[in-house]
Symmetry: C2
């Protein structure tokens, strides 16, 4: 996260030399565009979003047609056992889902302007006023897999927050993504005022490798994918990376839990969408209620097709539970598998979470408010929940409009990252000729909040 | 910035095995301590700061005595030409400066509590309330050079913000730093409630190298030093790093500038403390006023011992100016040297700044408010100043109380970084058994700000 904020002429060199190819040229154009996007009025940004939403609706058939080709290829891969059915499902786009994309773009237009917000205004001295004000980051690159609705979602969040965007999707969705991006760029061109280079698609793996080296022209990299993918990108690039390596989330059923609520939450957190990073991987159950709760929940889980693995005390309390090894506590199954551990109270649960959790989302189920508050306060994670499913950890459900990614890290953005994660701030200091040496020889700062 | 937020038992292993040595053990103890620091009451944190301030004052003689030894060695190095006089000056501690340190520690105690601030409260649905709340980062490591007053300054900011701290100072100040840290730790122990491991000193280069690998137990690394040092640390560590590579700051004297103000600002920005990162390195002057302004400012600079280098147009307007090469525009002199370039108006100035600036602090001098606002809005830097010296870019002058570092990056913290940079936030969700699948079958979110 060191300082590489400039790049004007470097970028312009690329702009002047369009025979160069690949990510570097795209990033150069994006940098040039970002200078203009940063100062576009809110009205213009919203008008462009409206134009884009309209154009998506008008071209729904065109998008679905491109998608049909992608889906056709994907179906062959599924039949050949080279792609999962879930991945195919995420790839599919219908006219209805294009209208949903347009609806979400309009939703982003309706969000409050994230730019030019005054975070603090301080009078340093008479006639010397410091303002801390939000502004766009500049150029943001997002590398994602399968789901084509990421294209309008991320592009709209980037535009609303005054950022240029570079997108790289998965090969399996290439035609759908390209079609969505073409329509998006048509809308930008038609609207006028938005510079070319504001939204661009990267096409190859080589582009991504090149992208990682462009720290002068790219301010933030958001990899949306598996743990290995995110780690690889973080390791290879000097561009700041925000993303989540993994989601090892826990539900802890406390001794004073309402077991009916606990059942509902555990079943939702495990079975609603097992591939999601906010699904539960390990269930922690207090010893005091293990004998009562475990047989019930294990039966329900098994009935829902969940494979259950447990510690010795779990296996003593419920029948036919496989042995959980040390490895299980640190595994993100992303599947219908759940490991269960019996713990001795709140401290034990928190210790287990701090040892094996990934800092994503952790939930306690209890009717004891003091225990709940202790858990929320002591557990070190992006989301700490009381009597609610871990699956609520999501930008849309949190009311952020949408999300560009989820961060397990603690810096800049933590948890579901909405538009705010695509902004930074600058300090504007307005004076009338003040110099520092005067304040060394007696002059005093007022430091008065305005 | 990937997710490594846990570490409990790993940490505890180190705590149980104190025969292990070096940074890993210190970081493990720090992680254990950070869990407790995170939940200390504000009253306790402030009482400990007061105790530390008092103990510093009472032990001023002891600190000065340790410092006398460091200074003695340093004086020999200066005589041997192996240390600069400026470095020696920064190293020196007097009873008066110890009292100033204590005063600043009390100043930190007086700052508003950075923890538990509610950044947003949203009702997601009836009985399901989401709170975004500030909390401590965890374990912060600061690697710094010479100035021993960094020890109480950073230690107090860390304690106030509920973080454990690992400090590594320069060898030249080893005895002074050790003495300050011993006194600090005595105060923590005496106060009770503060876990051992809350503030620790690392001692060797090997400790620093080991530190870089401890991403599980260290949340943030702040290198305070030269460009090469900061870059090396960023490159070698997977721990998030905040710091500034360099300060290539510009003062741009616009055609409509008050030349008296311009003179004052340029002289202050260059000569007040040339080694500081917020000093000016390149002066940009509008062509329209070059003939009037340049001879005056060059004379004044030369009279103050500043070596002046300029572009062709500068050399045509003022006599005896050395040739500035392309290299000069990208050099942080940190010394009494200034490069000057004549530009054609605001656009030219901004383009030069975006090409060569480091995103630290950029100033315009003008009486034309529209030009000033355009500069503040378009220039992409942590600090954008109108009619004020770049030297104001500083945590204390900004009213942040003190600074733990300055960030040229755009993520998490930008510009002078106070206590807020040592905090993150978490989302607390309080429900009554809600599950996500209900909201897929018709139930609606209210998303009402509270």
């Amino acid at each position: 996260m060191s300082g590489t904020t400039s790049g004007g002429t470097h970028a312009e060199k690329w702009a002047e030399n369009p025979t160069s190819l690949g990510a570097a040229r795209a990033a150069g154009l994006a940098r040039v565009a970002s200078r203009k996007l940063a100062v576009l009025s809110e009205a213009t940004r919203n008008a462009v979003l409206e134009a884009a939403a309209k154009r998506l609706e008008e071209n729904a058939a065109r998008i679905v047609s491109a998608n049909t080709d992608d889906v056709g290829d994907a179906e062959e891969l599924v039949q050949a056992g080279q792609m999962s059915g879930a991945m195919l499902a995420r790839l599919r786009v219908t006219e209805k889902s294009v209208h949903e994309m347009a609806h979400r773009v309009r939703g982003v237009a309706k969000l409050a302007d994230p730019l030019g917000r005054r975070l603090a205004v301080t009078e340093l001295d008479e006639g010397l006023v410091l303002t801390r004000e939000t502004c766009s980051l500049g150029v943001v690159a997002v590398v994602f897999e399968s789901r084509p609705d990421v294209v309008p979602q991320v592009a709209s969040l980037a535009l609303k927050s005054g950022n240029a965007i570079l997108l790289k999707g998965g090969a399996e969705a290439a035609r759908t993504n390209e079609s969505l991006m073409t329509i998006w760029r048509e809308a930008l061109n038609e609207s006028g005022g938005v510079p070319d280079g504001a939204a661009q698609m990267l096409h190859s793996r080589a582009d991504v490798m090149e992208l990682l080296t462009l720290e002068r022209d790219v301010d933030l990299l958001i990899p949306r994918g598996g743990k290995t993918f995110v780690e690889k990108i973080s390791r290879q690039s000097r561009i700041p990376v925000l993303g989540h390596g993994e989601g090892i989330c826990h539900v802890y059923v406390h001794a004073a839990a309402d077991l009916k609520k606990a059942e509902g939450i555990v079943m939702d957190a495990k079975t609603d969408y097992p591939a999601a990073c906010n699904s539960v991987e390990t269930l922690l159950v207090d010893m005091d209620i293990a004998k009562e709760f475990l047989p019930r929940i294990v039966d329900k889980l098994r009935a829902a097709g969940v494979e259950v693995r447990g510690c010795g005390r779990t296996r003593a309390a419920a029948s036919d539970v496989k042995v959980a090894s040390e490895q299980d506590w640190e595994t993100e199954y992303g599947d219908l598998i759940l490991s269960i551990k019996v713990v001795d109270g709140l401290e034990g649960a928190i210790a287990h979470i701090h040892e094996f959790g990934s800092g994503h989302t952790e939930a306690i189920v209890t009717e004891d408010l003091a225990a709940a508050e202790q858990f929320l306060s002591e557990v070190d994670a992006a989301g700490v929940f009381h009597n609610a499913s871990t699956r609520f950890a999501d930008g849309y459900r949190y009311g952020l409009g949408a999300e560009v990614g989820i961060s397990n890290g603690k810096l800049h953005a933590r948890g579901p990252m909405g538009m705010e994660g695509l902004t930074t701030y600058k300090y504007k200091l307005r004076g009338s000729g003040q110099i520092v040496s005067e304040y060394k020889s007696g002059k005093k700062f007022t430091h008065r909040p305005l």
